[in-house]
Amino acid sequence: MSARRPAPSRLGAWLVGRLIRPEIRAGALGDLEEQFRDLAARRGAFAARVWYWRQVLVVLPGFLRNTIPWSVIMFLNYLKIALRQMSRQKFISFINITGLALGMAACLLIYLWAGHERAYDGFFPDADNIYRVYCEYDVPDQPAQRYSPVTPSAVGPTLTRDFPEVAAAARTCLHYWSISRQDHRFTEPVFLVDLSFFDVFSVEFVAGKRESAFEKITDIVITEELARKYFGAADPLGQTLRVETWYDARIMGVVRSFPGNTHFRPFGVLIPFDLYKPLWGRDLNDWKTSDYVTYIRLADGASATALAAKIAGLRQPHVTDGTVHLRLQALTDMHTTELGGGGLVVYLNIFALVGAFILLIAGVNYMNLATACSSRRAREVGIRKVVGASRSQLARQFLAEAFLSSLLAAVLAWLAAWLFLPVFNEMTGRELSLVFSWREIRFLAGIVLLTGLLAGSYPALVLTAVRPVTILRGLTRGLGGGPWLRRGLVVVQFSIAISLMIGVMVVYGQLDYIDTMDLGFAKEHMITFPLGNELNQRFERFRRLLADHDGIVGVTRTNSPPTYTESTTGGGKIWWEGKPAADTGPSFAVLGVDEAGLDTLGLNLAAGRFFSTDFPADRQDAVVINEAAARAMGVDSPVGKRFRIWDRSATIIGVVKDFHLSSLHRAIDPLVLLPRWGEDTVCIRMTGRDQAGTLAFISDTLRQVVPGYTLEYRFVEHMLAEEYLTEVRSGTILRYATFLAIFISCLGLLGLAAFTAEQRTKEIGIRRVLGASVGSVVALLSREYFAWVLLANLVAWPLAWWASARWLESYAYRSDLEFHMFLAAGAAALLIAMLTVGGQAWRAGRANPVRSLRHE
């Protein structure tokens, strides 16, 4: 009962509270509420509300008249003083505002970037309700193989049928097939999808209808972009495109192309999923083999966590060995977060932290300089106090000054961000733009508030604490808080800067390590391109024609480019001679390759032999494994042993040396090479001499073998580099951020040093007159700063060591953390700091002592 009772509005109560003396406020509010409730009970909540507001509104005008004009006048006075203060201390203001502006600009850019990355796939209507189903395998020793984005074909239909929480589920699988119209033939990304794909993703049809999109199994849907490519301005609806050499497909729909920020890239052709059955005789309701990406859209109000708990064990009964769970990943997380955690999101978080740090450094500058120069303000504070300013009023004044500085800085920050954006875009590889939108304004306003509060609160606390009597008697020494806090803050600044510097060195160290590491196969001068069905049939002829060219080392077919393989056995399904009975065994990676694989990929044999055309039986009865597999199997001489994978039984004919089939984040998995299995990629290795000529030759030969075929190749080296793109980009951004951090720290140090030098002008003059050298004055003034930065090193080292070690843990193969990195960062910081301070000290020391002594 009582829970639903109407209560007076909070705003109204607050306003009333402003009007009434605090001593009797609580009682008065109680009185009002009692009357309100009474009225609400007798005449309804609405009447009570009206009554309450009338109570408030009647008194409001008078109240405002009595308070606002005075506040405005005071505020204008604060503003005037603040502006005067700024113009009087130009150098200090410059340092403050530049530092804050740079810090804010960095935050703004990082915010833009993070916002862009996090918005991936967010444009799909109802994106928050879309999830991807993935598998988690229980393979304790191989964390890299734990998660797999592909699911069995039965998952989609089962989820739609048995779970009311699932509004729609769609299975998808990407192939690269040749699509041709008359003489135009290109290899296109082809998605085999359920019709429900259009329900899950609410794809917009530009032409055709969703209902009739897949009327016949040979119907297809294409994107606008593709329609233009094949048909120009002509209407593609009802036209046909030839899919490989298999059949003519009728275009039943044209959908709007997705914006750039989606994981569906590339995207082009949509074909009915059911085509798998007539095409390759696949079982479309199977629980064993994982090949398809399954997306679901939740029904309104359904909970993803509840559903995830329900479906976790769904696949388990169908698996004979090993353990597997179905899991859900939000569509909007797919771009930033890798299955099982990690990925881009780690870098986004790191950079959010870095941005905050840079802003903190700039805020510290403001705090330090404001308190250091407090003696100049002391008299003003004293007078204000004498004429009756309360401490809170004064605190408000100093806060307002900090806000003014941060507001000015924000304007400059916008400008700086705008100027720097093209460079930043290059670094991130994105097309970000700085628009005057509510989102950015809100962020910047938040930053201004935060900075103003952070930078202004400490001066407000310290400067208002002075006692008027002491000040007005002329004693201004020892004001502005203990120098210890100031020193502490400088140490904090430099600790951050030094840690960032070490971070940069560690990142570049690791990237260099990756770059120079021997991957175990010949990545140089190797190209790959999709193997079409036609080319596969005429492959021997293609190979023969290429073999004569002296720029080509070898040509082979594989099931995927040698930079990664998604095919794994996921624990179990593998048997070998001598396998312990109870053991489920490791999960094997599987790579299909033909007889030329050894030479083309540049692999090295450790034992036995490779597949060969001299042994026709190899096709059925041979596998090659890598050393990691041999180790995992615990067999001393595996060559000659029997081996079974899925329902394929064969003899191990050779062992190849370990090579890196995936990024160095992952340890080398046990690998089994199958002859001529699932091949859909061509790899050609060239010598590197006359590369352009060789490529032209390959292209010509290809067209000769398969008329109309266009060579669309990629270099393996580039594909490998892409694996580390995030790291490389992050490294660059981190470098700039570090530079900023050091620069702003030094700005602060410069201000402090200049200030101390000025304060000690007379002392320096006397010392000089008595015979001190310039050098000794410089030493005198720099000594303490030297000590602070040294101390900052001691703080930064363990922190940086800990953070770097955590980051490096994400690599199975990593460079060592070397002590010289820490030493170098520390020395660099020390050097920069000393140059900054030394310059000021040098100037002070060189000044004519006669002038110095006349100072003040």
Binding site: L19, I20, I24, A26, G27, G30, L32, E34, V56, V58
Partner: protein, 109 residues
């Protein structure tokens, strides 16, 4: 002797009259009843706060009740100073009204 303003006088009298029941709501009702005109919020609690500050009244907290949103009633009582002020006012009023006939006031000049 410091003379209080009229509303302060009315408030003190209302509080005295209500005795143990003198908290905000009845005080305001009493003031409105006696004067026959509407007194808005600020006009009541402003002077009441002043009286409190200047030591004419003190407050006693009652039990918190649900109809007041969990807030306690705050009862007002006169302090010795408050009672003395009322006595003074009574004397002044008597003095001022002595010899004045209301009947004459009602006659048209």
């Amino acid at each position: 002797m410091k003379l209080l303003s009229r509303i302060e006088e009315v408030l003190l009298l209302a509080i005295w009259r209500l005795q143990d029941e003198a908290y905000g709501v009845p005080i305001r009702e009493e003031v409105i009843r006696a004067t026959g005109q509407h007194w808005h919020l600020g006009a009541i609690y402003g002077p009441l706060g002043r009286l409190y500050k200047n030591g004419y009244v003190f407050t006693v907290d009652g039990e918190p009740t649900p109809e007041r949103g969990g807030r306690s009633k705050v009862f007002y009582r006169l302090t010795a100073k408050g009672r003395e002020a009322l006595r003074d006012l009574y004397r002044v009023n008597q003095e001022l009204w002595t010899g004045i006939s209301v009947v004459e006031l009602e006659e048209e000049p």
